[in-house]
Amino acid sequence: MFTTLLILHGLLAVALLGGVTHQLVSTWRAPAPAKNFIGKYAAVNGAAYTNAMIVLYVAAAILGGIIYAPYRLDIRTTLEDLNLPAANGVFELKEHLIAIGLFMLPAYWLYWRTPLAAEHATARKVITTILALFIWYGFLVGHILNNIKGFGQ
């Protein structure tokens, strides 16, 4: 069961990092006609992503929270037995960053509300960048740790 939840958690994370990266690029894009692939990739309406990103973030965090308990019992103890403190450390950082990001979501929603306020453009850019970095970090760390030891191995 936990392997299924882990796969679902990973799939949600893929959708989340795809969406938030799209939104991130759109916030940093200089307004200009989109000509090539990168320009068209960035020329999305960033505000349209906000609610979906929040739902995906919360859902991925809840699933991560559910599989955290068996991780603590099975995988973390193995990492300790294998004397891999850095592997445990990157996960500790992941849990803190994801929690901080979770509590940033109300502010993220507030500053992405339409009509977009010009005076909050910097807040939108930086908050989205921070969240995107948290999500990418969480995804990569989860992937690497699962390579070291997955559930049921």
Binding site: G65, Y68, A69, P70, R72, L73, R76, T77, P85, A86, N88, G89, V90, E92, L93, E95, H96, L97, A99, I100, L102, F103, M104, L105, P106, A107, Y108, W109, L110, Y111, R113, A117, E119, H120, T122, A123, V126, I127, I130
Partner: protein, 105 residues
């Protein structure tokens, strides 16, 4: 904006409260995965297995954020500069990196 300004207060207080909670171990409760049991007090390590504080820290921060969002008047919340919503998290991330550096030394 004004009607929802308290959301920024929630984010500010909850993020700070979360970092304080893990730094000072202010967990609302502890979870023992081996026993599948939540406890308000520490159980003997020999029989209870590893302790998980994470859910308790989240709960502490959530409650602190909600209380602050309810207490702070909307007028004051609306005066909060939007830069606070990203400067404070960046500082908290910096603190977290320093706090967790012992894993990598």
């Amino acid at each position: 904006m004004t009607a929802h300004a308290r959301l920024a207060v929630f984010s500010l207080v909850a993020t700070v409260a979360y970092v304080l909670a893990y730094n000072f171990n202010w967990a609302l409760f502890r979870y023992y995965p081996l026993l599948n049991q939540i406890s308000l007090e520490a159980l003997p390590a020999k029989t209870s297995g590893p302790t998980m504080m994470y859910y308790g820290w989240i709960a502490t921060a959530l409650i602190a954020g909600l209380i602050a969002a309810l207490i702070v008047p909307n007028k004051i919340a609306a005066k909060l500069p939007s830069s606070v919503a990203w400067v404070v998290p960046l500082l908290l991330v910096a603190f977290t990196l320093v706090y967790e550096k012992h894993w990598f030394l």
